[in-house]
């Protein structure tokens, strides 16, 4: 059972964890804070699925990708800066402003100022 950054295990955190696992089942090698961010998104997810038949509310339809470790692994290693990325230290330790006590996201850093991007993300 992973530790709960928000305090002792209580029903809401269990629900959050279940939702987190559901949404992050295919993720590999992510930073702690980004996991927490997703957990925040998933906080509204109940443990049992809406409109499902009895007993079908878990991750029955989640992909069997074999990864899925980020959810369960995030609690304890938590304060590490994540993925061993090449953090430049430029602000990553001071940018957190979330109310959940999460650290900064180690999976996102300032990008390079020179050289091309590998991809773009915008409306499509």
């Amino acid at each position: 059972m992973p530790s709960n950054p928000a305090g002792p295990p209580v029903p809401p955190s269990i629900l959050r964890r279940r939702g987190l696992n559901r949404l992050s089942a295919v993720t590999v090698g992510v930073g702690v804070a980004s996991v927490l961010a997703t957990g925040a998104i998933a906080a509204g997810l109940p443990g049992s699925a809406h409109n499902s038949g009895a007993g079908t509310g878990s991750t029955g339809s989640a992909p069997k990708s074999g990864a899925g470790s980020s959810g369960t692994g995030s609690g304890s290693g938590s304060q590490s800066r994540g993925t061993g990325s090449s953090s430049t230290g430029s602000g990553s330790g001071s940018q957190s402003s979330s109310g959940s006590g999460s650290g900064s996201s180690s999976s996102i850093l300032p990008g390079a100022t020179s050289g091309g991007a590998h991809a773009t993300s915008g409306a499509s």
Partner: protein
């Protein structure tokens, strides 16, 4: 997993059109690009056949034709519907897959490339309509029941989910670092290149070699996903009124134009997509909603001003 990454090679990348958007695949081992592209194309073809709302032969269309009846569906479609329902619940209905019915009524009823960019006014009918809560998905047996009169748009989350799944699977199969971009939804898997994957967020997804039209920022990602949602793309006009594809399910109309682009990061592209799209719909309440959840995000207002929340990195200043 047997292959290893070439330690000093620069990532190789390819782009091509598929599933109504632009696909981007980058790998840290250039020798793995060709097989990776083949695998990804095959996966996306299966996704399209399962989930497209524009194909009469899609599984989704078949389930809609048998509305009110539990229909066994593939794991791909069941997963896409499950994610869409989870997204709806996580956002209190901001993301509702049943908006497809209203999108079609507004003119977006076919592949966007085929949608007339201008046209006469549309007649809208005000009525109580089934919502995402009326969709039945038995996740155990994989049976889907679409309510009568409802069409589903899984595009809001299905592409992001596909990026997540593809990135994880390709990283495993290819044995190297992988970036998969499907439109604005990008997921990375495996070991990233030195310095992380460089992703430029901007108003409209484009080729990395093309300069962005508006404000942009390059971020480096070592894991998880980034997604951008916006109203600058997929716009059309009816009766002189500009419409866009992100509908507020509460009104059935395009969300009020407060933010033209929202980019968010999370541990999956689909979680980032949920956050960015919900922020567009929530308008002025979007930043607070994101901030309260600690979701790093960058919001570009319609006037071009940029606001960031949570742990979104500050832009690097060139020396």
């Amino acid at each position: 997993m047997t292959a290893t990454c070439a330690p000093d090679a620069q990532p190789a990348a390819a782009s091509w059109p598929a599933i109504g958007t632009t696909v981007r695949l980058a790998v840290t081992d250039p020798a793995r690009l060709a097989p990776g592209r083949e695998l990804l194309a095959s996966y996306l073809a299966a996704l399209d056949l399962a989930c497209s709302r524009f194909r009469a032969d899609s599984e989704l269309a078949g389930a809609e034709r048998r509305a009110g009846t539990p229909v066994p569906v593939s794991e791909v479609l069941a997963d896409a519907v499950a994610v869409a329902l989870d997204a709806a619940e996580a956002t209190d209905g901001d993301l509702d897959p049943t908006v497809a019915t209203r999108l079609a009524a507004l003119g977006y009823d076919r592949d966007f490339e085929l949608v007339a960019r201008d046209g006469p006014p549309v007649r809208l009918t005000v009525r109580i309509q089934p919502s995402w809560r009326d969709i039945r998905l038995d996740r155990g047996s994989g049976r889907l029941t679409v309510p009568p009169g409802v069409r589903l748009d899984l595009g809001a989350t299905a592409k992001a989910r596909a990026a997540d799944r593809a990135a994880a699977r390709l990283a495993e199969h290819l044995g190297c670092g992988v970036l998969v971009g499907l439109g604005g939804d990008i997921a990375v898997g495996g070991a990233p290149p030195d310095g992380g994957w460089q992703v430029r967020v901007q108003d409209i997804t484009g080729h990395p070699d093309d300069p962005p039209a508006g404000p942009s920022q390059v971020i480096a990602m070592t894991g998880g996903g980034v997604s951008s949602s916006g109203i600058a793309a997929r716009c059309w006009r009816r009766g002189g009124v500009m419409l866009h594809h992100i509908l507020d399910p509460r009104t059935g109309l395009p969300a009020s134009p407060v933010w033209r682009t929202v980019s968010a990061v999370a541990d999956t592209a689909v979680a980032a997509n949920i956050a960015s799209t919900a922020a567009i719909i929530r308008g002025a309440d979007g930043p607070g909603w994101l901030e309260s959840r600690g979701i790093p995000a960058r919001l570009v207002a319609v006037d071009g001003s940029v606001r960031t929340v949570a742990a979104w990195p500050r832009p690097q200043v060139a020396a």
